[in-house]
């Protein structure tokens, strides 16, 4: 098996749009945007592909912090950004096609926003480790 290295570049939210624009201008394909918990903060990773090599841009933000959409640069980002807004509750401003919380229909709002599974109408479940 061939193992290819993956590069990560940490950015501040203010640098995001310019860096994504640079990726676009250099011919990178937007592969995906993912969101994970990083302690009390969120970590958003924007993945790009060129010549089958994967590069990631990463920003860390506190909860409830609005971040700019990159869908004006990569239209395809609207699916990932709506998904993150619906599942994690992160406000994303300026999404090209903004579903305003109706892209993923969930029983409870922002089910991935907490690091543990929460049932509707109940307290936080204990993790069974």
């Amino acid at each position: 098996m061939i193992k290819k290295a993956q590069s990560f570049q940490a950015l501040s939210p203010a640098e995001l749009i310019q860096s994504v624009q640079t990726c676009h201008d250099e011919g990178y394909r937007l592969v995906q945007i993912s969101c994970t918990h990083d302690g009390d903060n969120y970590e958003l990773t924007y993945s790009f592909d060129r010549d089958l090599a994967l590069s990631h841009l990463r920003i860390r933000i506190p909860p409830e912090t609005a971040i700019p959409s990159i869908s004006r640069i990569y239209l395809a980002a609207f699916v990932y950004e709506n998904e993150i807004a619906d599942l994690f509750g992160i406000p994303i401003t300026g999404i090209a096609i903004d579903y305003k919380g109706t892209f993923i229909r969930t029983k409870i709002p922002h089910p991935f926003g907490s690091p543990q599974v929460v049932k509707a109408g109940s307290k936080t479940e204990e993790r069974d480790e």
Binding site: S34, D49, V79, I104, R105
Partner: protein, 359 residues
């Protein structure tokens, strides 16, 4: 200018086996704009990773989809193995490759049948699914499961294929090739198929790239992007070449899938010829710590399994980016300007798997 109306297409529609909704803005019979909605059956499987042992979670990863199930489990295992720096036995990598290509064969045959059905071509539908049964029989014989194989483990695979069975598979593939040729000849040459697919649902190469299209959708638009070219599993040994067509229409996407079946047969035959001996599973101890984005080529295109772990038996995060989700923006582009009667055919050419998308 004619009056514009909005026509709801789905979530329940004869051509859609799973729920997706499109608001079609029409002017007479022409689609001006299509706005997709998903999320009708979102299961939140990724969240379960916080509650399950990372080894047990392989079985949940496999159940994300009932068609490309094996590749989901193999890619998840690849991600965890990379984080844990587990050296998977070479024979296990070959077996994963063989089962992955059988999955692609049965998925493409399933799609060809559904595609024929969307054009009202019932006989072609039945012939496609008749051949698919032969592939499912092999999967059942070698893994014990037709839909969910359940053989992938972190560290390899749980079942080996004995040499006599490999020889039988090779003989059966040789017999399958002429039958597939006869089937795909109809898709390539039949005037009905051509009338319903040529110059329909156009996706130019630059648009496919800009919109992040993957799999046969981007390869049908002239982009030679196939994750098997990265050489994961045993693909680095099998002289893999992607199938690419440049017309960017429904016909081109159909031909890509038709030709990929022969490519899959060829890859399986090479893998059977070159498979080394040895173990198929190594014991894996401890818990993972780190993160990795694993990529693989599913029948519908590039899939990503991201895992993040902090040394506990439960992973912190499992994120799956499925090919159908990546192809939704391209679908919006293909539908703009088409005739209403062509919508079912165009929707099917992205081979939508809502089960995957709503993982």
């Amino acid at each position: 200018m004619s009056k514009q109306i909005v026509l709801p297409f789905g979530p329940q529609h004869p051509v859609l086996p799973e729920p997706i909704h499109l608001d079609l803005v029409l002017e007479d019979e022409r689609v001006i704009e299509a706005v997709p909605s998903i999320g009708y059956v979102h299961r939140g499987l990724e969240k379960l990773v916080e509650k399950r042992d990372y080894k047990d979670y392989v079985f949940i990863a496999e159940r994300i989809c009932g068609i490309c199930s094996f590749i989901h489990s193999a890619t998840y295992c690849h991600a965890v193995e990379t984080v844990m720096e587990v050296e998977v036995p070479r024979r296990a990598e070959y077996l994963r490759t063989i089962w992955s290509e059988y999955s692609r064969l049965h998925s493409h045959l399933l799609w060809l049948g559904c595609f024929a059905d969307s054009m009202g071509y019932e006989n072609l539908f039945m012939n496609s699914w008749r051949l698919r049964e032969k592939i499912l029989d092999v999967l059942e014989r070698t893994t014990g499961g037709r839909v969910i194989q359940g053989v992938c483990r972190v560290g390899g695979v749980s079942r080996d294929i004995p040499p006599e069975e490999l020889a039988r598979m090779s003989r059966e593939l040789a017999g399958l090739r002429p039958e597939l040729r006869e089937l795909t000849r109809v898709f390539e040459e039949d005037i009905t198929v051509q009338t319903r697919t040529k110059r329909i649902g156009l996706l130019p190469k630059d648009a496919a790239w800009d919109l992040g299209a993957v799999g046969p959708v981007c390869r049908g638009s002239g982009i030679s992007s196939d994750m098997r070219s990265t050489g994961y599993a045993a693909y680095d040994d099998l002289d893999f070449k992607p199938v690419v067509k440049s017309d960017g229409d429904c016909y081109a996407r159909c031909l890509v899938r038709a030709e990929e079946m022969f490519s899959s047969i060829s890859l399986i035959e090479k893998a059977i010829d070159r498979i080394p001996g040895g173990d198929v599973l190594v014991p894996v101890k401890g818990n993972p710590s780190g993160e990795f984005y694993a990529r693989a080529e599913q029948p519908r295109g590039e899939v990503i399994h991201y895992v993040k772990a902090n040394g506990k038996k439960n992973l912190q995060r499992h994120r799956v980016r499925t090919p159908t989700l990546a192809n939704v923006p391209a679908l919006v582009k293909m539908l703009a300007g088409c005739e209403l009667a062509d919508v079912p055919v165009i929707v099917l050419t992205i081979d939508p798997c809502i089960g995957c998308m709503e993982r």
